[in-house]
Symmetry: C2
Subunit: 252 residues, 2 copies
């Protein structure tokens, strides 16, 4: 499927042209990063969401705004559109020092590292996390308690190559399960014998986002102005080793 | 060693009485939580730090302050004192919505979960992270690139039992190595075959703190007011399973 065809399909599902282009640009970026589970293969799933759960005509709304804090509500729009609007707002009016942005009803969110990278590209350190349907159980078993709850951290660099980490707490992705690349019982916190650590992170992010954004899947973005430039020195220290977010990166 | 004896030893190392009591209260709390590597066994190590590297008479200083952002500098004090001062300042004047607090020159920081819990006990959601000397290599080998870089997330609860996750990115702790409970080559990012995930988190936190707090080990605290109360429902869903931060907890 070409990007143009993908835009056409999302427009046929009810999205306005600019919204469809925003979503497809994100899918193309995911494919370019090798994250095909979040790429163009998602079009049929997004069409289903727009038909059954999300509102194609909805627009995210900023419902609270101070220098250091904003609250947004997705109003039923695809989460990509809420995160894109948050990134645009940060670019248009960046914080002097730091701003926490809470997004209620923000699902799906796509590849968090892409949003974090956009924020780093305007010169801000970014932390982006989001909840999603509960899929990960406690390491001792039982029902799913948390989403895969990724967190992305992006740090600008004077060498023009931001550092971008993007880590999901699942040993495999839900997309892997849907595509038959992993068994459902493999969708557990990562870490094997130390899965209690990834579970603690997943639960912490679940409750952090839940306490700020409420019971629906949501997102939290922290954007802050760096005072130092640690990335080039870190790359030097790492020698030629591939760092998170470098091109040819694998999924974190 | 009793807490009184520990206070005496730190006073003999040059700390003022109130500072010694603050540090020892933190060590006692670590022991109570079963985190003995951060407990009273650290007294000789702290005495050495106060003799060689940290300044017993130093007091942390708040050097920048707005509603949504503060910057502190340890001025050579033990990091415990800087984090205790930050917690006290948050309790005295909590943010309306959110505040990011950056602490330069903040080492050692002890058990981050204890600081996060203190902030949750005043009704705020807390995220606390800190850097420490580089000890973890890239999963493919090479020199140490990051500290063990723990992150703690604490969320208040209407049932009076805050949720507290506290996760270090190392498979073992530096304390385990010092105590002979682990080999130096076991001090790597946790996760075994998925250690690239813990490394990405460790590197992300290294560069996040480095970009905000500079080249010395530092700390970053986010404190924000919850709008929702997700912890009781999460406990219900988990049934009787032990959650991070519950008493009898093991190290995350």
């Amino acid at each position: 499927m070409t990007p143009e065809q993908a835009v056409e399909r999302l427009r046929a599902a009810g999205l306005a042209a600019s919204a469809a282009e925003t979503v497809v640009a994100h899918l193309v970026e995911a494919d370019d990063a090798g994250k095909h589970g979040h790429g163009m293969t998602r079009i049929p799933w997004l069409e289903g969401l727009l038909e059954e759960e999300r509102d194609p005509s909805a627009r995210p709304e900023r419902i609270e705004r101070t220098e250091g804090f904003e609250r947004w509500h997705g109003r039923g729009a695809l989460g990509h559109l809420t995160l894109a609007a948050i990134c645009d707002a940060l670019a248009a009016d960046p914080p002097d020092r730091a701003r926490l942005v809470v997004a209620e009803s923000c699902f799906p969110t796509g590849v968090l590292g892409s949003w974090a990278r956009r924020i780093a590209e305007i010169g801000l350190v970014a932390v982006v996390t989001a909840t999603s349907p509960r899929r990960l159980p406690h390491p001792s078993g039982g029902p799913p308690l948390t989403g895969t709850n990724p967190i992305a951290i992006a740090v600008p660099s004077s060498d023009g190559r931001p550092f971008v980490a993007d880590v999901s707490m699942g040993a495999v992705t839900h997309g892997d399960v849907l595509a038959g690349r992993a068994r459902p019982d493999e969708l557990v916190p990562f870490g094997g014998p130390q899965a209690h650590k990834a579970f603690a992170l997943a639960a912490g992010l679940e409750l952090l986002v839940g306490a700020l954004a409420g019971p629906e899947p949501g997102a939290v973005v922290l954007a802050t102005r760096p005072g130092f430039d640690p990335v080039p020195g870190f790359r030097d220290l790492a020698g030629g080793r591939r760092l998170p977010g470098d091109s040819g990166r694998r999924r974190g």
